[in-house]
Symmetry: C2
Subunit: 363 residues, 2 copies
């Protein structure tokens, strides 16, 4: 197999990974670094895996500029388990927290949190059909709240916080769908988390970066897998970690560091997204992006065509040009192009070219 048979993959996640990473994984599959076994057959206590694991931790810290007073945890269960685990670890029974209801994921985080604590809606995008993110001035955090939870990018609505809001409360951020696509202002946050399966690697790994200070506060957990502190103390080896996703993410992190780190990936994100938003904006309204101009996501570009029949035709014909996974989420319809870290600019350009020619033929 070689890369020439590969498609342009606009999946919303899991999604495209760097070809050199996949090739290295392929080469090592039966014999990792002359150990005589695959990395997926290695004991997690063996020196081969230990080195992979500790490098992934330190490369993540260095790439994301994580300060020393934050612990980096490699966990399982996706952002979904964090929706429960965060209130359990950060709140005592009588504390409350505000949540931004910015769409599917912000809303889910809020409703799961309500099962565990006094979570409330600090802003809702429902009035605008979730087509925009709030300004800081619109966010209403109640006195005595422990934190404000934000979702930095909503994959389904295609909206993204252009910058992290400046408020007087510690924030907790679900960055699943724009993790490490731009630098993180750590002083705003008590906790940042995300699934690996968009920008960083395969599914099955959640990265939680948490201010260690919170371990000294009261919480609702006191042991077991759900307790962050148990993982922090053991470098995320308290139990068998999800080794394969950590191993692949380790390679992605090294690929990112070599390419120039977060400033380079922030630049690439703007380039990829601009190619597509420019095509939409220059179509004379034939392609329409339903998102407020200030909230347009650099990761998930959603747009509509004049009618649903044309959208179906667009998606079908695009696949003839190896442009795949463009269907919008079933809850909103339309077209969605997800353009994460590992998607080459050429893929975005190919899609833009196709969009222009499709409009010429059907407009």
């Amino acid at each position: 197999m070689n890369s020439s048979s590969r498609v342009h993959n606009f999946s919303a996640g899991p999604c495209t990974l760097p070809v050199p990473v996949l090739e290295a994984v392929q080469n090592e599959m039966l014999n990792f670094e002359n150990s005589g076994m695959s990395i997926i057959e290695s004991s997690h206590r063996a020196p081969e895996y230990d080195s992979v694991h500790m490098s992934a931790l330190s490369d993540f810290r260095s790439l994301a500029g994580v300060p020393d007073d934050f612990a980096i945890l490699f966990l399982q269960g996706g952002a979904s388990l964090q929706f429960t685990q965060i209130p359990l670890n950060l709140l005592s029974v009588d504390e409350k927290a505000g949540y931004l209801n910015t769409g599917t994921w912000g809303g889910k985080a809020l409703s799961d949190a309500k099962l565990m604590c006094s979570a409330y809606e600090a802003w809702s995008g429902a009035d605008s059909n979730f087509s925009r993110m709030p300004d800081a001035s619109e966010i209403e955090v109640k006195e005595g709240s422990r934190f404000l939870h934000i979702t930095t990018n909503e994959t389904i609505g295609g909206i993204q916080l252009p910058k992290y809001p400046k408020i007087d409360f510690p924030m907790v951020a679900d960055m699943s769908s724009d993790f490490l696509s731009r630098s993180i202002d750590w002083e705003c946050f008590d906790l940042v988390y995300g699934g690996a399966q968009k920008n960083l690697g395969p599914s099955g790994l959640t990265i939680v970066v948490v201010r260690e200070e919170i371990f000294e506060r009261s919480s609702q957990v006191a042991g077991g897998y759900l307790d962050y502190q148990i993982h922090a103390k053991a470098d995320s080896m308290a139990n068998t970690p999800p080794m394969f996703p950590i191993y692949v993410m380790g390679k992605v992190l090294k690929w990112m560091i070599e390419a120039g780190g977060l400033p380079e990936f922030e630049k690439r994100a703007h380039e990829r997204a601009s190619v597509l938003y420019d095509t939409i904006d220059n179509s004379g309204g034939w392609y329409q992006c339903p998102v407020d101009a200030n909230s347009r996501s650099l990761m998930n570009i959603v747009f509509r065509l004049p009618n649903e029949d044309l959208e179906k035709k667009f998606i079908t014909e695009a696949s003839d040009f190896d442009l795949v996974n463009l269907k919008g989420h079933r809850s909103v319809g339309g077209v969605r192009a997800s353009v994460y870290n590992a998607l080459p600019l050429e893929s975005a350009q190919s899609l833009a070219d196709f969009m222009t020619s499709f409009q010429q033929q059907n407009g």
Copy 2:
């Protein structure tokens, strides 16, 4: 890379996988079934992955003979998260459950459960230094208990329940380290669970098989990732599943079905273990197995040499013959050979030959 450079891997887990499975994974790494992408780049909602996922579910059901009134869940967080999740889902706040304290894992399940419910010790192996499993007659289940939790095999102590105890209570079983190495008598159980990373695949996947009836009983969860019912209703696709371990396990399950199913693997387990126990028993006491004869594990064969210096020498010299990962767990010392489903009989035979020759040279 080819298989000729591979070692005999006696790791306690993660551990050896079938070579044909690894080769197939390697071949498909850049282009899965002509999709133009790796399976780890596929959306979990794409037809390619959906077929992998649904086949893994149905092959597990068919191989293990899981009755229709049990749901099969593909979860994350290891057996460790189950230590918490089981009491949350199976018990209301005023119910209690008994636990067999058979060693490291049974003890951990009990101590984590105590944080969530009225869990108590229904038998302890502490008096015998955890060198044996109990007879059914020794187990003390208190009136009104909801279930009895058992650990069918203890990897560290090297003990295994020769058969499932017959008692008048529903049982819950951690089968992590002997999962699908023998048939399961489903009518004894309300829930059976295990990590994939011994007999079935890579780490990062936990299989929970649960009687659906329990969803109608009161529990301590009502939504969120920790609620079994949410996963059962969505065929374990309520959130992004750990796709790579499921994909690899799917191939292992097909390999097992083709080889003859559980009766064949039970036979192989006896053959592999016998080769090693016979060598120990025929050594005139030079090799000693500290485990009660009726509780000897077919998965983890632990033994001692006359002194620790010889044990170190044994482990070092064995690695010169590509016999690796033989060191006993740090908490008990000695030698441990883990001989899971995918370990070829030849590997056990090579180790036995080495043991005989090592005794001749050092005895």
